[in-house]
Structure formats: structure tokens, C-alpha cells
């Protein structure tokens, strides 16, 4: 199914605007190579008008972070009645909110590191500060402090001792009004990308991110060429790779994702897989993991873009049950 005209949604006001612009630039190249007519829209106040004026029959959502990846833009696309790439409103909300994701994982019995989540209100109005020592004791150090809703590792801090926790909380609360404190699991960082087509969801080869710096694969490393080494496919025993694939597919289904997604996990030193989070709209930049995984599976970037569009148009024909 070939779209007549694609509205490519990019940019927007989120903190990940630049990442989105880099993703979109690659998609624009791919669309040109595919000979698909498209119009790029830097999303802003006039989005609804821009969508209506675009005369497009499908939207490619190359947005990351707040607004673009959290269900907001998806909701508007539903209202305008334009099919779009990737997950629907509800799945986007579930992925964007790490706390919600983790609660769903727990309920389903899927592995995820121990955690506690707090809102700013809990501290300001309910005295949550008094609970911190008990939490620290239960999670042990180092503890990872994360904003509930922020991609790209912005605002994620390691607290190595109790003295580091308040500062880490302040940093995380700079990005969201809810944060989580998570047990740090020592191990290898794996990312499993998923791609759906008419035959169902399939997991692409596992990518391992090996940071140069100690401890952590930060925002900077994530997007700068040569800062983090990526191994794709990751060198894993077959059974581990297969467990990672199965786990990722379970997460994809649990959250109600559609079309594609990426599930980040840790392979702990004692060989357990633990899910950290899921990305509803993983990056498509030159250094992003989904395109690398696709390539390892023999899917070139423009084929990937084509598949994403196909799925979007297929959903129009038969609405997905979840999300």
C-alpha cells in the first residue's frame, strides 16, 4: 500500500527537539529515495490546521519526548482522522510514563528492577521525605533516580549514597513532577527493537550499548558518533538472546504497542533480564538503535520507513485492538 502523500511530523517544543529533527532528516531522505510525496511539519500551535492543509493520507510521527511521544499528538491525529505511524494514544501514554510501565510489568509478572515513585506533591504536601531512609535501605546503593516521563536519559542520576539522593531528586524533578527511585542493576545494557507487519510482531537483533564512561550511557553518548560503542547483534548466548526477544515481545503486547517500539533492558551479572523501559517512538537518527537493529536484520532504512507507513495504513483498514 503506497501512501499518496505523507505528513512528516518533526521538531516540536520538547527537550528532545534536536533529536527529533535528526530523526526526521533521515526519514525525509528515505521518503525522497522512495519517491513518496511528503510535507514536513514542525509541530507547533498550528498543527491541526497544518495537518488539514497537508492533504496527506498518513502521518509519519518523528517526534520524541513530551507532546510527540506521550499520546498528545496521537490524540490530535485521531481527531483529525489521519492514520499515523507507531503506537496509539494509550500505548504512548503507558510507554512515556516509566512508573505506569513498571507497574504494568509487575502486575504481569515481568521482571523490572525494584522501585518507588513519588510526585512532587508527595514531598511538598505528604511528607514523603520522611520515607526516604526506608526506601534507600530497601533499594540499596547505588540507586538510580529518574524523571517518570523523559526519554533520552536526560535527568537520570546515580546516587551512590544517601547524601546524593536529594540532589539527584532535584535534578530529576527538573524534568517532570514525578520521579522514580530504582534499584541499580549491574549488568549489560541491551535494547530490543520490535517491528510489526502483517505476519505479527518480530524482535530484531539485540543491540548492546557499551558506554565509554563508567557507569552510564548518558544523553551525550547516546547521540554523538563515537562516544558509545554499539554491538549489533550483541554477543549473547542463543538462549539469552531468545529470552530477550520473548521478553520484549511480551512487553510490546502488554503495553499495547503498534507498528514498532524498543524495549530497553539489563542483563544482570547473574544472567537475569530486567526491563527498564519501553520507547513508543525510538530514535531514528544515525546513531539510534532501532535502525541499527533493522539493518542487522537485513532491513535497509527506507524499507524500515516503508514498513512503518504500511502498518499505519493497515491500521486504518483494521483498527488495532489495543492502544
Amino acid at each position: 500500500m503506497t501512501p499518496r502523500r505523507v505528513a512528516l511530523l518533526k521538531g516540536g517544543p520538547s527537550l528532545e527537539r534536536q533529536v527529533s529533527l535528526r530523526s526526521a532528516a533521515r526519514v525525509e531522505d528515505a521518503l525522497e529515495r522512495l519517491g513518496v510525496d511528503f510535507v514536513s511539519i514542525d509541530v507547533g500551535r498550528s498543527l491541526v490546521d497544518d495537518l488539514r492543509a497537508s492533504a496527506a493520507d498518513v502521518a509519519f510521527v518523528a517526534l520524541h519526548g513530551r507532546g510527540g511521544e506521550d499520546g498528545t499528538v496521537q490524540e490530535l491525529l485521531e481527531i483529525v482522522g489521519m492514520p499515523y505511524t507507531g503506537s496509539g494514544v494509550l500505548a504512548c501514554m503507558r510507554c512515556m510514563d516509566k512508573v505506569l510501565t513498571k507497574h504494568m510489568l509487575l502486575e504481569e509478572g515481568l521482571p523490572t528492577p525494584d522501585f518507588f515513585a513519588f510526585s512532587e506533591i508527595a514531598f511538598k504536601e505528604l511528607g514523603a521525605g520522611e520515607a526516604l531512609p526506608a526506601i534507600e535501605e530497601r533499594l540499596g546503593f547505588p540507586v538510580v533516580v529518574k524523571p517518570a516521563a523523559q526519554g533520552s536519559a536526560l535527568g537520570i542520576k546515580f546516587a551512590r549514597s544517601a547524601a546524593d539522593v536529594p540532589e539527584a531528586l532535584i535534578a530529576a524533578f527538573s524534568y517532570d513532577d514525578r520521579v522514580l527511585l530504582e534499584r541499580h542493576v549491574q549488568g549489560r545494557e541491551l535494547a530490543v527493537s520490535l517491528l510489526e507487519d502483517e505476519d505479527g510482531v518480530r524482535a530484531l537483533p539485540v543491540v548492546e550499548a557499551i558506554p565509554e564512561q563508567e557507569y552510564f550511557y548518558d544523553f551525550e553518548a547516546r547521540y554523538e558518533i563515537g562516544k558509545t560503542e554499539f554491538l549489533c547483534p550483541a554477543e549473547l548466548p542463543d538462549d539469552v538472546a531468545s529470552r530477550a526477544h520473548d521478553l520484549a515481545v511480551s512487553v510490546f503486547r502488554l503495553l499495547g504497542c503498534y507498528g514498532f517500539a524498543r524495549v530497553d533492558m539489563i542483563l544482570s551479572d547473574d544472567d537475569e533480564l530486567q526491563v527498564l523501559e519501553a520507547q513508543a517512538i525510538p530514535g531514528l537518527t544515525d546513531t539510534s538503535l532501532l535502525p541499527q537493529a533493522a539493518e542487522a536484520a537485513g532491513i535497509r532504512f527506507e524499507q524500515l520507513v516503508e514498513k512503518m507507513l504500511d502498518q499505519a495504513l493497515a491500521r486504518k483498514a483494521a483498527p488495532a485492538t489495543a492502544g
Binding site: L15, G129, A163, I170, F173, F301
Partner: protein, 473 residues
């Protein structure tokens, strides 16, 4: 020499980037690119350009104060008088007439320079680059202030310099700490190549090196046969007090390399600065410039020449000083009104910047994300002015780029997010933790009372954190 016509830059049939190619490119990168720092912060800084953001981040002069009719008259004159040569390559060291203007600007600050000692550069930034290129091998030591001009950091890093930063106080760089550091380097058999300093209305701290320290710095350079790179973009933007002699004037240009620019007194869009240096150094700089860009713009050099012919440049600088003085005062008043008691800031007698320091538990990089997200306001996080991760709780605020209303509103918004974080922090502290946070809390110095004596030319640069911040490197 003449680039081939590469056609439109948006050419879309360039072939696909694959992860294999990324690896290949990464394998081709020079080692020094590892030292070229790039960051998430840069991504955030790009958001600051959004039209709905009040930016106190840039260092932008107010070019809207330049009369368009003057601009038109000058370009018209160029068209009639020297069209062909304005469109032509020029001498590497710059046009003699432009250098005569430079001699005039330097004289206005009490310096004597010979036109043969001057090389016109593409902005002051190129002068920093050329000096570093000329003097630094990987691992060589460059000494600079802490904090230092954020734009110099990537330059030093790209030549793989070992950058050592010297603390400042209200009188600028602590020359006693400089001497200690030099002695230590001696013992370690490391010889610094040059000391980079912005002695007057420093970027980012806004402080000025005192007269005794100026003399002592020049003596040290002479005794040790060390070069000093004096970067002086703001000397003429003085809003009160008497000027101090530039290091170049004290030393006569023997050990001082002097760097000036038209960016802040005329226009940064002209991309014109200059450097004067001892003869042998200048010859190398000239060769370096030839390799870098052959020559600076002939067109804008002629613009400067004709503008100076009209003799109004001093008046224009006075006009700018009037505008910026008012904006600085508005920012200082707004800081006193909207920033919390725990914050401190400098009170510059000139230049474009105020340096504010918040309690240690606030990382201004993260705070910028909150400020952009919730309040649509931007500043430069302090860590950009350090090579070693310090400066995390400081920020640079610019008062030349926004008008008075924008400045007041911008400071109000930043004050709001800072106050929110301080209030939130206080809720984290349980009884046993409170002792911990108290120990970590800064010794606060109250903000200056509103009826304070007239602002001194040089005022206290807030320092905090005792040992950690007091170390020279």
C-alpha cells in the same frame, strides 16, 4: 584554493548512512575530536532560540541600535568607491586602513600599537584559535580563569591542551594561586605555554582584574618568559568608574598577546577581530591564518574603514554603554527582587554578563531544562565555563541581548524555578539527613541591600564550597 561548485547543499541523492558507515566515519576521526566536547546542553541551547523563549543565554550585542541609514550610506559608498576590491581577496594580515582603525581603538584604551604588529582576524574567536594553534602541542598547559570564557574551552580542547583554571575573587584571577600553580608545574617539569585571561569585565564572571594584580601578572610573565593572551572585548563597555590599563599597555606588548574585536563595539556580524603579538609569534600566527582562511572578509574590513572615517564610532560606543547600563541595572534590581536569599551574584561595572551562584544542590544544567519547559526562559549553565565539571550550581546571565522588560521578566521566571527547587529540597530532609544538608549548605552572603553604596568597579565574585572550589585545577 577555490572550492568546486558543489551544487545545492540540500542535495538529497547523497547515499544512505548506515550504522556500518557510522563506524567507518568514527574510525576516521582524528584523536583530537575525542576532546571536542559536545553535549546534551548544546541541544538544550538550541531550544533557547525558540521565539517564545526569553533568552538571557547568549552574548548578543544589541545590533538594533545601529542606524540602518548609516549602514546604507556605508555600503553605498563601498559600491561607488571600491566595489571590486571589496569583492576581492585581501592581504592575510588585513588591510592597512582597517588596521589604522584598530590602532585608534587600542589608543582609546591607552595602548600603542604599530600597524605592522596587527593581524586582522575573523572575529576574536579566530585569534584564540590561531594563538592556540601556534603555541600548543597536545598535553601542553594553558592556564585560564575559573570560570573562563565558555567559547575558549572547545578551542583549547580541540588542540588537546591541558587546561588549568585559576580561581577568581572580586579582583579577578587570584594571582597568588597562579604563582602557586606555576611553582607546582615547575616541580612537575611542566611548562605552561600561555595564560589566557579576560581581565576586564570578564566573560562569564563580570569581574575585573585589579591594578596591583595586573602589574603582578605582567611581572610574572616577564620573569618566567611566559606569554599572556589578553582577551579584551568589553574594555570600552564601561558603565562606571575609571578604566584600568590593559595588560598590553603595562607590558608594551613584549609578553602580552592582545586580542580585540569589533563585535561588541560595532557588530559581531562583521566577523572582525584582531591580534597583536611579539614579532616571531605574529609571523607564525600569520602563517596559521593563511592556512585557516587566507584572509578575513574584505567587504567588512572596508565597512569598518568607512565607518571610522565618519568619526562616529566613539559616540556609538557611548550610546551602547547608555543602553547596557540601564539593562544591567534592571537585571541587578530584578535579581535582588526575584532571586532567593541563598543566591549570590556579581555586580559588573561593565561588559555584558552577570554570574549568579545558587545553592550547591541545584545543577543549573537540569535547572535549564525546567526553566525552558515550564517558564520558557534560558541562561547558560555554569559548567560550560569549566573544563573539569565545576560550576554546576552557577549560571551566566546576559543583559545586552534583551530589553529591560525582557530582562525583568526573564529574571522573575528563573527566580521562580529556583525558588521551587529550594522549597522542594527542604522537604527531602528528614531529621538525620538535615545535619547532612546543613553541612552541605553554603555560607550564604545576603544579597546587597537596595540602598548599597554606588556599585564599585570591582566587586566580590561569590565563591563557595571552600576547598573544592578553591583548588586551582
Amino acid at each position: 584554493m577555490v572550492p568546486l561548485d558543489e551544487g545545492p547543499t540540500h542535495l538529497k541523492d547523497r547515499h544512505q548512512t548506515t550504522s556500518h558507515e557510522i563506524e567507518r566515519y568514527a574510525g576516521l576521526f582524528a584523536k583530537r575530536t575525542r576532546h571536542m566536547r559536545s553535549s546534551a546542553m548544546r541541544d538544550l541551547m538550541e531550544i533557547t532560540a525558540r521565539p517564545d523563549v526569553i533568552s538571557l543565554a547568549g552574548g548578543l550585542p544589541d545590533t538594533s541600535s545601529f542606524p540602518p541609514e548609516t549602514f546604507a550610506a556605508i555600503t553605498d559608498k563601498i559600491a561607488r568607491r571600491s566595489c571590486a576590491s571589496a569583492l576581492q581577496y585581501g592581504p592575510t594580515e588585513g588591510f592597512t586602513q582597517t588596521k589604522e582603525c584598530i590602532v585608534e581603538v587600542m589608543a582609546a584604551e591607552g595602548m600603542r600599537a604599530d600597524i605592522d604588529d596587527i593581524v586582522v582576524t575573523t572575529g576574536g574567536q579566530q585569534a584564540i584559535d590561531l594563538v592556540t594553534k601556534t603555541l600548543i602541542d597536545p598535553g601542553d598547559v594553558v592556564i585560564c580563569e575559573a570560570p573562563t570564557y565558555p567559547g575558549a574551552v572547545p578551542t583549547f580542547c580541540s588542540y588537546e591542551a591541558d587546561v588549568i583554571q585559576i580561581e577568581m575573587d572580586s579582583e579577578g584571577m587570584r594571582v597568588d594561586l597562579l604563582e602557586e600553580t606555576l611553582a607546582r608545574l615547575d616541580r612537575e617539569k611542566r611548562r605552561p605555554k600561555f595564560i589566557y585571561t579576560v581581565p576586564t569585565f570578564q566573560n562569564p564572571a563580570g569581574v575585573t582584574l585589579s591594578a596591583p594584580r595586573r602589574s603582578r601578572l605582567v611581572e610574572i610573565a616577564r620573569e618566567r618568559e611566559l606569554l599572556v593572551l589578553e582577551d579584551n572585548p568589553y574594555g570600552l563597555l564601561r558603565y562606571e568608574g575609571e578604566p584600568l590599563p590593559p595588560l598590553h599597555a603595562l607590558d608594551g606588548g613584549e609578553y602580552v598577546i592582545y586580542l580585540g574585536t569589533f563585535s561588541k563595539i560595532l557588530s559581531p556580524g562583521l566577523r572582525l577581530g584582531w591580534v597583536t603579538a611579539p614579532g616571531p609569534v605574529l609571523s607564525k600566527i600569520k602563517l596559521g591564518k593563511q592556512a585557516a582562511d587566507l584572509c578575513s572578509s574584505s567587504l567588512t574590513q572596508q565597512f569598518v574603514e568607512l565607518y571610522f572615517e565618519e568619526g562616529r564610532w566613539r559616540r556609538y560606543v557611548q550610546d551602547l554603554c547608555g543602553i547596557y547600563r540601564q539593562r544591567r541595572d534592571a537585571m541587578l534590581d530584578a535579581l535582588a527582587e526575584f532571586f532567593p536569599r541563598e543566591a549570590e551574584w556579581t555586580q559588573p561595572g561593565g561588559g555584558l554578563f552577570i554570574w549568579a551562584t545558587l545553592p550547591d544542590f541545584i545543577d543549573t544544567g537540569d535547572l535549564l531544562a525546567k526553566a525552558l519547559r515550564e517558564e520558557h526562559v534560558a541562561f547558560v549553565p555554569g559548567s560550560a565555563a569549566y573544563v573539569d565539571g565545576r560550576g554546576g550550581s552557577s549560571m551566566r546571565l546576559n543583559f545586552s541581548g534583551a530589553d529591560v522588560d525582557g530582562i525583568v521578566e526573564g529574571v522573575r521566571r528563573i527566580g521562580k524555578v529556583v525558588n521551587e527547587q529550594i522549597a522542594l529540597f527542604s522537604t527531602f530532609a528528614g531529621p538525620e539527613r538535615r545535619t547532612e544538608t546543613d553541612r552541605r549548605a553554603p555560607e550564604t552572603q545576603p544579597a546587597p541591600p537596595e540602598d548599597a553604596a554606588p556599585l564599585a568597579d570591582v566587586v566580590e565574585l561569590p565563591r563557595r564550597g571552600g576547598e573544592r572550589r578553591a583548588q586551582g585545577s
